[in-house]
Symmetry: C2
Subunit: 139 residues, 2 copies
Amino acid sequence: MKASSSNQVTDLESCSTRVVNAERVAVVRSRMPGDGDLTDTADVFGLLSDPGRLRLLLALLEGELCVCDLAVVSGLSESATSHALRLLRAHRVVSVRRAGRMAYYRLDDAHVRMLLDLAVAHTEHTQAIHPERDEPQQA
Amino acid sequence: MKASSSNQVTDLESCSTRVVNAERVAVVRSRMPGDGDLTDTADVFGLLSDPGRLRLLLALLEGELCVCDLAVVSGLSESATSHALRLLRAHRVVSVRRAGRMAYYRLDDAHVRMLLDLAVAHTEHTQAIHPERDEPQQA
DNA sequence: TCAATACTTGAATAACGGTTCATATGAGAG
DNA sequence: CTCTCATATGAACCGTTATTCAAGTATTGA
């Protein structure tokens, strides 16, 4: 717990930034996560912010896949796929299982899985509501 | 965060990319969202991938705030705050209410709100499980 | 009207991030 | 052992993006 002595938020009138609603600012400040948690969270979102990586992770929602299959599904080159998987692995989002010369990757982060599920649900939802976009999904 | 049309995934054996588990690849392919939805989703995650913007949006979870208060809370300059809000506004994530010379921004995207709530819940959860990180929240 | 306030905008700079190419590693086949 | 296959890695390239500075637009008050 933080016993923040934030009754007096008017302590930064000196610089160019004033405060209009001091009370709300204090509340928001007290609820704001710490710097470390914040950058961690931003990093996680950053990992999901690339279409290629997003495809990789969505492909892994159903179970493990080898690198070349991931490359095919994601539309990336095998090198780009490997780089992307390396990044995801570094952040503990995926894990590897080696079998011979193959490498099978799987999704290994419950939080990321929830974010992906939520994103998928949302796209399906908006697809149902706003079907104006034509999506030819080749068989 | 970019809007690229990088979908060229034809199922040919001719090129260097083979398929190992053809069945799984087919299933994953059929479930894969279309290119438009995918870049949209990636863009949304991209908007949340910056600590400054993340702070802005977390601040707006509780209600509207004016630009200078948002600048204070996020730790950004007022110019950087305005640029960030412009970007979020362009993506319909926040909306503005003008009152005199003030501009009050509010969170205006249910999906983003869910993502933020989930992220906050997760940081609080891991904070409870792994409290190894010390968080001195400056008063 | 003049000046101050609250916010916006554009240009410029610097840093970051994703792809590619070439090469490396390591396992299995011959 | 040698060669190929599956993946990994490093360096370079180039577009993207965040920040800053300076100037611009409204709006309010004197």
